[in-house]
């Protein structure tokens, strides 16, 4: 018992307070989203959210008392068990909105194992980064650490749950950076991702938005030019490789680096065209210019911006928003909760939400400062990554600067699975912070 009391003394309760404040704001505005223009309450989501939030807090506190160091040798087992659970879900789970991602518990209630997978993956990745820190081959370390993330990500992609799978990328980047993975590979990874998106969207973008189609850009997607370009890049890469072998000049290295970047991302975008439906690519295009499709997916963005913009400095007042109560902001309680908050509480409310997230993120960074082992530092960095990514994407989407991906705003959006997962992760971070003097 004594150790628990000591732990609670050392724990940073201000983080807990910030989370509770966010949860309260969340419940209030989930309540608001359930009110119609005629003032009737037609949804009991807010009651369910109170249950989710309180159980989430309980998970967080319990997780804080849990000493990660003691079980660090079992992280691989936990990881494998979660992967098995994920496969089981894919085979026998419930289908919601076209993705087989739910395991039912009782009636309507269920959990998404993919959310739990985020935390267990981070745990095992942290462990791997630590144990492999003396590995001499930096590329092998990059490849192995990435495959730890890639396996669950693929399993979630085939559910298919694009949004949740996407979160694994920031987890990896933040953790790998903390774990000392060679930065050239991380930059390569990020650039490949960015270029793949650009090449995937390019044909639709050229067709729908660009005033004049640029012929030069067609070499990146239009066949047969596409193949010529691939061939040129490949030739240059092979020649540079020979050059590097013979002369050991640095610029050959960078030539290989660049050509490989284009080769990989062009091939990946070709795969993207094969696998993604037009309307999925369209979402990305619409994000570039919502007025292309003002009443399809662009509708959501324009409505959300209007709701936020009309909020002004102090907002229209709690339960007084017009956009949210009269008109259909879709998924008000999940994807677009920030729009309601900003409409009804104005700039001050939005700023409060931003500040609370900033506070939690800064406090997490400060926990990392006190650490001396890669396992703990990279795990906390990974949790930082999750919160940061959800915040940037969801709030950005509501303001129209990020594409629509269906990623919830943590602590505020309605829903249990992602909340429980982050409470678990954050609780473990609190525990790590409170035990800073033990190691």
């Amino acid at each position: 018992m004594g150790s628990i009391v000591k732990l609670f003394k050392e724990m940073d309760w201000s983080i807990v307070a910030a989370v509770i404040l966010l949860l309260v704001i969340g419940v209030l505005f989930i309540y608001s989203s359930g009110i119609t223009s005629t003032g009737e309450l037609v949804s009991n989501e807010y009651l369910k959210q109170i249950i989710w939030a309180s159980s989430g807090m309980l998970i967080m506190i319990l997780a804080a008392t849990f000493d990660l160091k003691r079980v660090k040798d079992h992280f691989l087992l936990i990881y494998i068990l979660s992967v098995i659970l994920l496969v089981f879900t894919f085979l026998f789970g419930k289908t919601v909105n076209g993705a087989r991602s739910w395991l039912g518990i009782a009636g309507e209630y269920g959990i998404q194992p993919s959310e739990l997978m985020k935390i267990t993956t981070a745990m095992y990745l942290a462990r791997y980064l630590d144990t492999s820190s003396h590995e001499p081959s930096s590329i092998k370390r990059f490849a192995l650490s990435f495959s730890i993330i890639a396996l669950p990500m693929l399993l979630i992609l085939i559910q298919p749950d694009f949004g949740t799978a996407l979160v694994f990328i920031p987890i990896y980047l933040f953790m790998a950076y903390a774990g000392g993975i060679n930065r050239r590979y991380l930059v390569f990874f990020v650039l490949t991702g960015a270029l793949t998106i650009v090449f995937t969207v390019m044909p639709l973008w050229q067709r729908l938005i660009a005033d004049k189609q640029s012929f030069v850009l067609r070499v990146f997607y239009d066949k047969p030019y596409f193949y010529y370009t691939l061939g040129i890049f490949f030739t240059v890469m092979v020649l540079s490789f020979l050059g590097f072998r013979l002369f050991k000049k640095k610029y050959y290295y960078w030539a290989i680096y660049t050509t490989l970047l284009f080769l990989v991302s062009m091939s990946a975008s070709e795969l993207g065209h094969k696998l993604l439906k037009d309307y999925q690519i369209m979402r990305l295009v619409v994000f570039i210019d919502p007025s292309i499709d003002p009443l399809g997916s662009g509708w959501n963005i324009l409505q959300s911006i209007t709701a936020i913009g009309s909020g002004g400095f102090v907002g229209k007042g709690f339960l007084k928003g017009t956009q949210s109560h009269y008109r259909y902001l879709p998924q008000q309680s999940t994807d677009f909760i920030f729009s309601i908050i900003s409409e009804e509480m104005g700039f001050l409310g939005g700023l409060l939400v931003f500040a609370l997230f900033l506070y939690i993120l800064v406090k997490l960074s400060l926990i990392i400062k006190t650490q001396h082992s890669i396992t703990q530092a990279s795990f906390v960095s990974g949790m930082f990554g999750i919160i940061f990514f959800h915040f940037i994407i969801n709030a950005g989407m509501a303001m129209g600067v990020m594409p629509i991906t269906g990623i919830p705003l943590l602590f505020l959006s309605y829903g249990g699975s992602s909340l429980w997962a982050i409470c678990l992760g954050l609780g473990l971070c609190l525990g790590i912070g409170a035990r800073k003097f033990e190691s």
Partner: protein, 624 residues
């Protein structure tokens, strides 16, 4: 390359600073943008929020029409009808009860049914909920005259499917219905929405994505209460009509088949072996698709589901039966190819043989057929001949292998949902399933197409197609062309696709065809298949199913036997279940179809010509 020292006391100060800077940058940029949205451009959005909002109205696409191979008269049309919808959020709470009661009276629907469509959890929705999908113009007019009494109610044109041909056509064409929750879960990612009309069975389901077209949208600018702003421009994205389908089905042949079947439980297939096109595919009992798409169709559907005659099943490819003596076609090909016994070598039929502790009786009973060679055995459908060859010469393994070679036990991949693959038993299967050894008796049963062997009538048609084509089965299909709905130009042409390609020699198939011709010219089918307009070759079959006086009746044949151009040849399969009173109808039905198809007669003319008016063959004794 690591920034961090490799000491055990690592320091993460640099990482901490980077993360804090990152978080601060995000905070600053998002706060500034929020400031820009809410304070710099705030007033602009405020006026926009109050005065203008846009409403989307769906303009449903016309579903494509379906034609037979002549592309003259459609088999399915769309007729004018309206869908009545409600936007629950626009209906004030105090008017809710009155509106529901008034609507119920006007529509002649129980009030509870309407309330079930709009449960309380929908009351806040500003989306359209469909109340009824087929409402007449007259009722819409009544509502329109008093629209102020019906806040939140609107309607749009939703053409109703009108199936001009029903009966045996309904099985093939299928019908449409509103998408169910389960279907939506599966099809969500393919762009289907709640309230969509989707094909439920048959061609309507198989080619739903081609038929459905793309819904258009009309954008109305409305104020915050949902009232249209007249002055604002109306943007319209017109709907794209679904594409028309031209089937391989021939209306006249299908009607001929339907009537030749009459009210006998069973099915008929008419197939062009040269490319796999299906000219007719009839099954009885059938249903009328118009009853199902009409209001109250759910009750009709429930009745059809419960009907012990299973009218929703298409017996030609969704049921399988023992093929009985039609299987002797494969036996003949196998015997010839394997040279299991010389074609002229004879076997004595005394009407029965003893095998193990059982006596197997030929259908003709004692004193038997006498001495028969292969051609005679097939023509007389002598069971003893095939038993002797199967047990002493051919063997079960080769029989299994030849059955599979002819496509038995696998799907024909016909372009209709719900096909069954039938079944080819093997000794291994029997041991695994029943834990019993495969006995010689099982081989004898299989040799005459009885026992565990199961085939669909469509597979039997394929079997004959293989014989006609000397070793090739083309995938049986119903879609011939996809056509543009506006000018009828051909968008896609379905090309024949090889389903099975056999290595059996051409000579074997030629010999098999000659033997099949003898069945008609001098064998069991000589009397019933007596049409003069075309020379037919084929095989009868009579399957034991456990009744003393009734059997499944089969006939599979093709004609013209002496065709110069293989494109002229058709394969006909008739299958009459033992549930009907025994009249050995399958060969007569096939005879009618050959007569009608090759002389251009309709059923009545063909029946008169063949002396089969008012039905029927005299209740005959059992013949194979």
């Amino acid at each position: 390359m690591s920034d961090f020292t490799d000491d055990s006391r690592r320091s993460f100060d640099k990482l901490t600073i980077i993360l804090i800077v990152l978080a601060a940058l995000a905070f600053l940029s998002y706060s500034s943008y929020l400031f820009y949205l809410q304070l710099v451009r705030g007033s602009e959005y405020q006026s926009k929020a109050i005065t203008i909002s846009r409403q989307i109205e769906r303009l449903p696409a016309q579903r494509g029409e379906i034609y037979d191979r002549n592309y003259n008269l459609p088999l399915v049309l769309n007729v004018d009808s309206f869908a009545l919808v409600m936007v629950p959020g626009e209906l004030p709470a105090d008017m809710r009860d009155t509106v529901f009661i008034k609507l119920a009276a006007l529509l002649d629907e129980p009030v509870d049914e309407l309330r079930r469509k709009v449960p309380p959890s929908y009351y806040k929705l500003f989306q359209q909920i469909e109340l009824l999908s087929s409402v007449d113009q007259s009722i819409i007019t009544k509502i329109a005259e008093r629209i102020d009494e019906f806040p939140g109610i609107s309607w749009y044109s939703r053409p109703k499917r009108n199936y001009l041909e029903s009966g045996s056509f309904s099985h093939v064409i299928g019908y449409v219905g509103e998408i169910t929750r389960d279907e939506l879960k599966v099809f969500y990612n393919r762009g289907y929405q709640s309230g969509d009309i989707i094909g439920k069975t048959g061609i309507e389901r198989q080619y739903d994505s081609i038929l459905r077209g793309t819904d258009g949208r009309q954008f109305n600018t409305v104020d915050v209460k949902g009232r249209s702003i007249e002055s604002a421009s109306r943007q319209v994205e017109p709907p794209l009509m679904g594409k028309n389908l031209m089937l391989t089905l021939d209306r006249n042949t299908q009607l001929l088949a339907e009537k030749a079947l009459g009210d006998r439980i069973g099915s008929i297939v008419v197939l062009k072996p040269s490319n796999g096109e299906i000219l007719a595919l009839a099954s009885y009992p059938s249903f009328n698709a118009n009853d199902i798409v009409a209001r109250g169709g759910n009750n009709i559907y429930a009745k059809l589901l419960e009907d012990p005659g299973t009218p929703l099943i298409h017996r030609a490819f969704q049921s399988s039966y023992p093929p009985a003596s039609t299987y002797k076609t494969i036996m003949t090909a196998a015997i010839l190819e394997e040279e299991a016994i010389g074609p002229e070598e004879t076997i004595l039929c005394t009407g029965e043989i003893s095998y193990g502790d059982r006596v197997f009786r030929c259908w003709i009973r004692r004193p038997g057929h006498g001495r028969l060679n292969l051609a005679g055995g097939l023509a007389q459908s002598c069971d003893v001949y095939f038993w002797e060859v199967a047990k002493d010469k051919l063997g079960i393994e080769r029989m299994v292998s030849y059955s599979r070679e002819f496509g038995f036990g696998s799907l024909t991949n016909i372009d209709l949902p719900g096909e069954v693959p039938g079944f080819v038993p093997t000794p291994q299967w029997k041991e695994r399933t029943f834990n019993e050894k495969w006995l010689g008796g099982d081989t004898l049963n299989m040799a005459i197409g009885q026992g565990y062997l199961l085939t669909s009538p469509l597979q039997i048609a394929n079997m004959m197609a293989m014989v006609v084509n000397s070793g090739v089965i083309f995938k049986p299909h119903l879609l011939k062309e996809v056509r543009d709905p506006r000018d009828g130009s051909v968008l896609t042409k379905i090309l024949p696709e090889v389903l099975v390609s056999s290595s059996i020699s051409k000579e074997t198939f030629k010999k098999t065809r000659e033997n099949l011709r003898l069945v008609i010219s001098a064998g069991t089918a000589q009397y019933p298949v007596n049409t003069k307009v075309v020379s037919v070759a084929g095989k009868t079959g009579t399957a034991e199913v456990g009744f003393a006086d009734r059997w499944h009746s089969w006939f599979v044949g093709y004609g013209p036997y002496d065709a110069e151009n293989i494109d002229d040849v058709i394969v006909v399969v008739a299958m009459i279940e033992a549930a009907n009173p025994w009249e050995w109808w399958a060969p007569y039905a096939s005879n009618l179809i050959f007569q009608g198809y090759f002389s251009g007669m309709n059923y009545e003319e063909a029946a008169k010509k063949l002396g089969l008016v008012g039905k029927t063959a005299p209740p005959a004794v059992r013949v194979e």
